[in-house]
């Protein structure tokens, strides 16, 4: 098709009206490890698989879920190094906002600014789009919020969402299980069950990562011991 002739440059539209590089970036995301997020009535939970390339890798040195501000956390699917760059930029933007307005940045603002950065890289010369999709979880004055940001720079607010490998199964599972009045603990259990669905091998506190934020507005990553406790409850 004519498309392949237009896939060399990011900043050129194909005849069918698509930017092919962004489609390819989404494919990169789709082959990344599964991650998901669920918004409960009193908090948000985000979780991801943490499959390491070899048993020799020190799993305590890898942290896929990162904190952007004390009340906003983020997880990704796709290329880890791209994620690190975005996290660094987002943290700086949140800090600049705080310095200017002396208030913690609202979740929507931070998502908007991060999405703007990702969009920049789809319209500049000599750069490529980020190969990650982000799930941003936060709790501010507007309550708990969950946003997904794509490599194109578009973002949506979700009640529950999944990305990466196995996304369609995970989303179907979440659609069946999600209720509007879910509490944070139920949401954590549902997240674990969803991850278990597509998990190859034995699931444990060492090969998944879970981050939660409750009404105390403090984002934190659960320790492997805490994850094991939740896993035992789910069994």
């Amino acid at each position: 098709m004519g498309d392949s002739q237009y896939s060399f440059s990011l900043t050129t539209f194909s005849p069918s009206g698509k930017l092919v590089q962004i489609e390819h970036a989404l494919t990169a995301v789709g082959s990344g490890q599964t991650s998901l997020g669920i918004k409960a009535s009193n908090g948000v939970v985000i979780a991801t698989e943490k499959k390491l390339p070899s048993i020799l890798v020190d799993e305590s040195s890898v942290q896929k879920i990162q904190c952007l501000t004390p009340n906003i956390g983020v997880v990704y699917s796709g290329m880890g190094p791209d994620f690190r760059v975005l996290v660094r930029k987002s943290r700086k933007q949140a800090e600049q906002y705080h310095r200017l307005y002396k208030e913690p940045i609202p979740v929507t603002q931070l998502v908007r600014e991060t999405a703007a950065v990702m969009q920049e890289f789809t319209q500049s010369g000599g750069v490529r789009p980020f190969g990650v999709s982000l799930l941003v979880a936060g709790y501010d004055d507007n309550g708990p919020q969950l946003y997904q940001v794509d490599p194109s720079g578009s973002y949506f607010s979700w009640k529950a969402s999944a990305m990466g490998k196995n996304v369609s199964n995970a989303k179907t599972f979440l659609e069946k299980r999600y209720t509007d009045d879910m509490e944070l603990d139920d949401a954590v259990h549902t997240a674990i069950l969803t991850l278990k669905e597509g998990f190859e091998g034995q699931i444990s506190g060492k090969n998944i990562e879970i981050g939660i934020i409750g009404s105390d507005k403090k984002f934190r990553v659960l320790t492997p011991a805490e994850i094991d406790d939740y896993l035992a409850e789910v069994e």
């Binding site: 660094r88 800090e95 600049q96 705080h98 920049e120 319209q123 010369g125």
Partner: protein, 273 residues
Amino acid sequence: MSKAAVDLPPKGGFSFDLCKRNDMLAKQGLSGPSFRKTGTTIVGLIFQDGVILGADTRATEGPIVCDKNCEKIHYMAPNIYCCGAGTAADTEAVTDMVSSQLQLHRYHTGRESRVITALTLLKKHLFNYQGYVSAALVLGGVDCTGPHLHTIYPHGSTDTLPFATMGSGSLAAMAMFESKYKEGLSRDEGIQLVVEAICSGIFNDLGSGSNVDVCVITKGHKEYLRNHLLPNPRTYVNEKGYTFPKKIEVLMTKITPLKERVEIIETGDAMEE
């Protein structure tokens, strides 16, 4: 293909463009506008469990007291505080900026900030501006390597000391420290000494006055004692109340209650995003 022009925020920093003009005006006899200085007595000392910082609360604009109860002890990190003397805007801006940088550094390293990090960031900035940023600081905190106390001068030089004073009242305060300081002070003894030093500055220096602020930092814990001591309360109030000098007749009394000027529309259209 050149990189498309992405909207960059304006580069910050001091613009030296008008300095030549100012010099010329000064030579012609124009005295420049005065700015709000904090006058000040600020002190710090190391006691057995950590660091105690103290400051007075008077801000001056030339001969006028413009703020009777300002805050001179600035937050840098959960375990580091900084007292500032000199131009109030400079101390506020520079401590705010370095506090932001320390927060980003904490995110990236996942560790508690060290006092020496704050020190280096501050002195780099002040040296860059060659003394034009008129901020003299007493920086104190407790980190994984222990309690630390430093002084930073506007040109960027620093000292590391067990007890330090800065500001116009520094000599009065230092006199108290030099005679009464000893190593291994307890918390109460330390606070007592800091309060004495600040009071000495308050009562003997025109640029310092009003109340005493104290901040105690120990490992894993900090106490910000705002207005710990109020040695200058307004005690005199005339019981007779206010009387007009000559006999004045009341011709007409009209009381107009102030209404709210803003009309609140409960259900309006949401603003388009």
